[in-house]
């Protein structure tokens, strides 16, 4: 176990021992170790790297979030005031023990379909700042999640760059229970008044968050961006159905009851998310 104090040291440690596995909160990794599924040759702990445990503004209207931010930290009101959907996703990410340990970077690197922050990051069109032996580079989060870009050996997720949109954002998740649980489906929805856009990503229904671009453009064209920003209930409903049809495709006829329920769930989540974003 290595305990580097800076990102550079962590990158050096990984370069020195390529078989080592970086670990931050360990909520997924250590469970796999305890279950005997994984026996890492070494661990590089990212827990002492203070530069990635906080967040800061950038002059170009973005926030630079450290990959080591815990879900608990992201759930706090100061964070929620600027990135409400990300904060809501972090608060929904599990019981307090998990939220206190699990990190933003871990959620991205783990890339579980049910990762709660992922649809929000996809909707925000966040970018990752990845550091490695050859310096740092920026890749869109959706490229990484879709496998268009991969982390190269020895690279670490250092930061996440998130645009500050100063407009309502909503994260909703259906779990089928009242207590904390993995998402059956989730949506992250953000309004981007500057670009007159609505962006939504649906999580948990596919290996990576899905963006129904046609539905986004259609609904954005209906909104009176300079006025009340209200939509009729029928329009909200149509938007939900549009999103659901795009994200939960038919898998042959007749459509399986499970697919129908999932599609209905996504439609309801998308409709409620947009409704809440437009009324808040």
């Amino acid at each position: 176990m290595m305990l580097p104090a800076s990102l550079d040291e962590a990158v050096a440690a990984l370069a020195a021992m390529p078989a080592a596995v970086p670990v931050a909160g360990g909520t997924d990794l250590m469970a796999a170790v305890n279950a005997g599924l994984l026996r890492p040759a070494g661990l590089v702990s990212l827990g002492r790297i203070n530069e990635i445990r906080g967040w800061q503004y950038q002059e170009d209207g973005h926030a630079l979030l450290g990959a080591g931010l815990t879900h608990a930290r992201m759930g706090r009101p100061d964070f929620a005031a600027l990135m409400p959907a990300l904060a809501a996703a972090a608060r929904a990410a599990g019981p307090p023990q998990i939220r206190n340990a699990g990190t933003l970077g871990g959620n991205i690197a783990g890339a579980a379909p049910t990762g709660d922050t992922l649809p929000v990051l996809a909707a925000l069109e966040a970018a990752l700042v990845v550091v490695g032996p050859d310096g740092s580079r920026e890749i869109p989060v959706s490229y990484l999640l879709a496998g268009r870009e991969m982390l190269r050996p020895g690279e670490l997720i250092g930061f996440v760059r998130v645009p500050l949109l100063h407009a309502p954002q909503v994260f909703l998740k259906a779990t089928g229970r009242t207590g904390p649980g993995r998402a059956v489906a989730s949506v992250g929805l953000v309004l981007d008044p500057a670009r007159r856009g609505v962006r939504i990503a649906v999580g948990a229904v596919a290996p990576m968050p899905l963006r129904p671009l046609d539905a986004e453009q259609w609904v954005a064209s209906l909104i009176d961006w300079d006025g009340e920003r209200q939509l009729a209930p029928e329009a909200l409903e149509a938007f939900g159905d549009y999103v659901a049809a795009a994200c939960v495709p038919d898998q042959g006829e007749p459509v399986a009851p499970g697919v129908l329920h999932l599609r209905r769930t996504v439609a309801v989540l998308a409709r409620r998310a947009l409704g809440r974003a437009l009324t808040s």
């Binding site: 026996r39 809501a88 608060r91 089928g176 207590g179 059956v184 329920h261 769930t265």
Partner: protein, 794 residues
Amino acid sequence: MSGQDAATATSTTTVTFTTTTAAGGAAGTPGAAPGPGAEQAAPAVPRGIGASVPAADARAKTEGTFPYAADLWAEGLLWAAVLRSPHAHARILSVDTSAAERMPGVRAVVTHADVPGATTHGRRIADRPVFAHDVVRHHGEPIAAVAADHPDTARLAAAAITVEYELLEAVTDPEQAFAAPPLHPDGNLIRHIPLRYGDPEATGEVVVEGLYRIGRQDPAPIGAEAGLAVPRPDGGVEIYTASTDPHLDRDLAAACFGLEPDRVRIVVTGVPGATADREDAAFQLPLGLLALRTGCPVKLAATREESFLGHTHRHPTLLRYRHHADAEGRLVKVEAQILMDAGAYADSSAESLAAAVAFACGPYVVPHAFVEGWAVRTNNPPSGHVRGEGAMQVCAAYEGQMDKLAAALGMDGAELRLRNVLATGDLLPTGQTVTCPAPVAELLRAVRDSELPPLPKDTPEEEWLLPGGPEGAGEPGAVRRGVGYGVGMVHMLGAEGTDEVSTATVKVVDGAATVICAAVDTGQGFATLARQIVQEVLGVEEVATAPVDTDQPPAGPAAHGRHTWVSGGAVERAAKMVRTQLLQPMAHKLGMSTELLQVKDGRITSYDGAFSTTVAEAMAGKELWATAQCRPHPTEPLDGDGQGDAFVGLAFCAIRAVVDVDIELGTVRVVELAVAQDVGCVLNPRQLEARIEAGVTQGVGAALTENLRSVGGLVRHPDLTGYALPTSLDAPTVRIVKLVEERDVVAPFGAKAASAVPVVTTPAAVASAVRAATGRPVNRLPIRPSAAVAAANS
């Protein structure tokens, strides 16, 4: 002893004390801090029957210092690993252990060829091989076991055993089991009970039919299985484990090891949660074999996955019902077919089926009943005893039928039930007369008439706990509230001629009493109850319970509320015998019989008050022992028509469920469960409340989330992420509106065991409430969100 410190310390105020037992560990709260002053407050310690005596080990368990089997260690111990079948049904062509044996650190590898004694075992029928050798019949069946000097080495060695399989078609649909080729030499039909009662031609004016499916609930004990086997110098072996029926486990193990039973000793360590039979013989037997083979202590602590694969589950059940009623809503006839999936081995399925068939009509008067039940063998995960087995599955179905009937008649569900409830003196469809108290109508009225929980209108909307939970997607406009009822019954003690007996010894030395009884405290609170009984009878304060092992006389399994009844009865008798020994010399001196001397509050007083002394003084310097047995009246097996006096006692419960359903997403939140229960006599109020809350919560799990899914016989997601136990947010407010204390004259203290019947009744009540909220049929447990989605205008 730390538990007693806690008791003394927290008894200074009743409030603090209550919190201690409720949370199981308020020891850290300021009011509960032990201090010299608190130690003196002895008279306030609750003791005796009817008092909320706290469990002696509560403090150690909540502080994490209690040594469970998984914490045990012995000098030079080896670690075991069990190789389990990855297939649900396959022929084993060969097992090659040579690679595993060659691995450094591996000390022994055992397979079926190394079992010196009986090669099959089973809790009731010996149909389960110790290690599969010709065929594997379920996912997770043990094939070989390894002992090595490190747990990882053992696991790797187990993985290095090469097994050649020929895959066979898995029979996973119990309806196919009848026609399928036999999966076992004993055949696929484990038991068939046809119950015929009354006139088959009888018909009612209103007929409703329903098909119900109950999923596979897992007991999911928080502490997974674990054990330590230590070889004895005499060639025997001792197994330290959390057994709930140590003598049966000993007999099974001895038979498999080819040893006399007295050379195998099971030492019961604390039980980390048991709502079913513990432990899993699939590793207990290999542990003992490996210890005998290597001459070293051998330990195994199961992973969560092994735990899910190894132990038995609640029987998945398919039920088909037809209820006939007259126009006033009185039941005329019930016809039912019940098909229980026993999994690969018989275990206790025959008994579960008997309960299901006998209680198929519920606590209602039914003049004519025709029920057929089958328990069949499949390649699904094995089923066995989980509390409320059989009774819980049928309760969900007959209560679903009562809702259907109420809808067909346009009647209120509670009113319809009240028109049909059973009472003392009525007949069960098995022909048995209900002789115990059966205050079903009183229970149902109590829950019906209790106040409904308020709507959260007066609190800010952000604080509402909607279905889906905090940060969930719930929207008030889509939430519908539903109210439903469930009435359930369960039998106590083993049925159908089981010889129910328990033996207990009470020892008093210098005023300190010890109870020696092999009844295992699984969390049902027997150890506390035994102490209360001795306190009550002998007036002593200090009572300890001895650790349980199989050198003590047998007390039987910890199931069906047995220990409250038979072991509690044995303790009471033994304590009374000690009392007589103590009082006789005194009575003789006074020239009166012992009955004229009274023991109360630590004093012995004669009837006229002329003579009085303290118990402590009377016991000083004396050592008194007595051993007694309790054996309730015998029962008989159900005959070819499902008739017979098969049960010793019955317990009843009525629950009113209030649920909120997000009808668009189908998420359900149980808001409140109002419980009225037939308990006979309250022996320990706090403990009783905790048992009812625990039972109700397990029932909520069965109603909403708990289902161990399998596809083609292979268990999907054997972990606590995929298998969703209720969390504190899922558990509803449990309001006990009435405890009916009508003493059962044949039971010790008139008390009825309380743990099982809330488990039986809760799922039915929740389903009934979801029906009311959504208008959907809700005929499947657990209730999936897709079954609770409804149109907004319904």
